[in-house]
């Protein structure tokens, strides 16, 4: 009857429409309560709910699959009010991953992954095929892992099985509550990266709860910052939240290093590159000297015939006459490419002798240069340079 859905890219929009959850006998502000939450997550995006404990982020998540029923307001999945759906059918169409993973200890990995397909009465062959496909997808060899029990797995492996189980019936929506909270930082980082790679293909609509602002910024296309009392403090892209915190609370929550965090999000391609003052091997030294006098920057970048950088030439290292040789060029600068994050770029520049980064294309040819000042200026600027232009910014020469 029910067949395995074609490996599609099904995703649904999830919209909170004035959703409030109050607990009996308590007023506004009880831990876990949610107050008038409205936000919309477009199909295929990861929305991270982040905030201190008790801010209602987990409650909000659990109202989507009605593990908790809202006191008022509606949650619309592709425009359909979740409250009107049959409970088990609704839940079978939503993937769910929790911190403790919640694998069934008495079932093998294969049985765990096949849970929702079994509830949906898929034929046994389809279930088996889907289980193998998913285990492979999350990086676990089916032949090795299918017949193991959860107790025989490491924390990271369990977490992967949890993700595979949530994806089993190809749900358009996934709910993830601190899914990587129970593993050590190194494994967490790896799982986060793997999951982002998966999501690039799957394009599910994902609601993701964490208390860790760094994880929120890393994982979220959109971030909803919630504060005590279950109020939405700010909703926007990580960039918007870091660049323009809506309130004192958000600014404090994202931390004093929000400028640095912005730099971790943006890449060199976001900066306007300045053309490098280049000189070629064999160019006339006298000519080069003429170019240097009167140039406040005071250095030329020596490149080879393929436009690859060799090093900087200053007035002192310039030979009296003749052609420019590689020996004249010292020292080198950090090489950046367009995909280098600004945070990494800044880190390299701080450690370098010459605090000018040379941006090169994939073949190593010079595209332009970037200074540390330009990067820090970006950190202070608003999103897309729109707001918050810093008057103290020193214009590069």
């Amino acid at each position: 009857m029910t067949r395995v859905p074609a490996p599609g890219h099904r995703a649904a929009t999830v919209a909170f429409d004035h959703v409030t959850k109050r607990y009996a006998g308590t007023g506004v502000g009880r831990p876990g309560a949610v107050e008038d939450l409205s936000l919309e997550v477009p199909a295929g995006k990861i929305c991270v709910l982040v905030g201190p404990s008790g801010c209602g982020k987990t409650t909000s998540l659990k109202m989507v699959n009605r593990l908790i029923e809202p006191t008022s307001g509606r949650i619309l999945i592709d425009g359909v009010d979740a409250a009107t759906r049959e409970l088990t059918a609704l839940r079978r169409s939503i993937g769910y991953v929790i911190q403790g993973v919640g694998l069934f200890p008495h079932q093998t990995v294969g049985e765990n992954v096949g849970t929702v397909p079994r509830l949906l009465r898929w034929p046994a062959d389809d279930r088996r095929a889907r289980t193998e496909e998913l285990l492979t997808l999350v990086g676990l060899d089916p032949a090795t892992y299918r017949d193991r029990y959860p107790a025989e797995l490491s924390g990271g492996e369990r977490q992967r099985v949890g993700v595979a189980r949530a994806l089993a019936a190809d749900p358009p929506v996934m709910l993830m509550d601190e899914p990587f909270g129970a593993v050590d930082p190194i494994v967490r980082e790896r799982l986060q990266n793997e999951f982002l790679r998966l999501q690039a293909d799957l394009a599910k609509t994902i609601l993701f709860v964490t208390h860790d602002i760094d994880e929120a910024i890393k994982m979220g296309d959109l971030v909803a910052v919630m504060e005590a009392g279950g109020r939405l403090a700010q909703f926007g892209t990580p960039e918007q939240i870091l660049a323009n915190p809506a309130s004192e609370f958000v600014a404090r929550f994202v931390g004093v290093d929000r400028g640095l965090k912005r730099l971790a999000l943006a890449r060199v391609e976001r900066l306007p590159l300045r053309p490098a003052p280049t000189a070629h091997l064999g160019d006339d030294a006298a000519d080069a000297r003429r170019r240097l006098t009167g140039d406040p920057f005071g250095y030329l970048l020596l490149v080879d015939a393929a436009n690859r950088p060799i090093g900087w030439i200053g007035p002192r290292s310039l030979p009296e006459s003749g052609g420019l040789a590689p020996e004249a060029a010292t020292p080198m600068s950090p090489l950046l490419d367009l995909r280098t994050t600004l945070k990494d770029a800044l880190a390299m520049l701080i450690d370098a002798v010459v605090q000018v980064g040379i941006v090169v294309d994939p073949r190593g040819g010079v595209l332009g240069i970037v200074t540390a000042e330009e990067i820090t200026a970006f950190a202070r600027r608003g999103p897309d340079g729109a707001a918050g232009e810093d008057p103290t910014r020193v214009a590069p020469p």
Partner: protein, 213 residues
């Protein structure tokens, strides 16, 4: 000392009483398990009844077996039913306690995951909670069974006592061999049940022995 001719002569009796002993035990544990399960379902839907229920079963457990039998005979006479009422009463406390403990030991995140994946209440109980409660449930059945095998001896007083009657007959006829046969077979039965159920408990919960590494 042991008179083999007595054993040979009484083989049909010994066989029949061994069968009766087994039947009394199985029926008592089976009915006890059924009643306990119903009681646990009621307690789960009305948690306030947990106290009164276990209190009552605890009270039954404290009544001396001979006294209970003596009390029942005027109502149910010297019958199989009288034996079973007594035997079942003594299993209830053990079984209800272990059922409840087993269900409480089910990890909460497994329950939440089951709900979130769209298990119905009944299905969750049947496919998640009971399987995960099995180690403690089987442990309860094991204790109840061994206890019942011993108690069956006492019900010989009302005429249905399995191997107890073999011993009783030995006493009445000053026949040491029959006393010994009744004693040895009862102990053997209890040991076999204990080992057998211990083995069964491991077989039905292969996951509980799985460990990382």
């Amino acid at each position: 000392m042991i008179r083999w001719d007595v054993i040979r002569g009484n083989l049909p009796l010994i066989g029949a009483k061994l069968g009766e002993h087994l039947a009394l035990t199985l029926v008592a544990v089976g009915v006890g398990l059924l009643l306990s399960f119903v009681a646990v379902l009621v307690i789960r839907s009305r948690p306030r009844l947990a106290g009164p229920f276990t209190g009552f079963f605890g009270f039954l457990y404290t009544i001396p077996s001979l006294a209970l039998l003596a009390f029942l005979v005027p109502f149910t006479r010297l019958s199989f039913l009288t034996s079973e009422i007594a035997l079942v009463s003594y299993t209830l406390l053990i079984l209800v306690r272990n059922l409840l403990a087993g269900l409480e030991a089910v990890p909460l995140d497994a329950l939440e995951a089951a709900d979130a994946m769209g298990y119905s209440r009944l299905r969750r109980l049947w496919q998640v909670e009971l399987p995960l409660a099995l180690p403690l449930i089987v442990a309860g059945i094991r204790i109840a069974t061994v206890t019942t095998i011993g108690l069956v001896m006492v019900t010989a007083m009302v005429g249905f006592g399995g191997l107890g009657q073999v011993m009783l007959r030995g006493y009445n006829f000053r026949n040491d061999t029959l006393v010994l046969v009744g004693f040895v077979l009862t102990v053997a039965l209890a040991l076999a049940a204990d080992l057998g159920l211990g083995w069964l408990g491991r077989v039905v919960t292969p996951w509980s022995r799985a460990r990382a590494g």
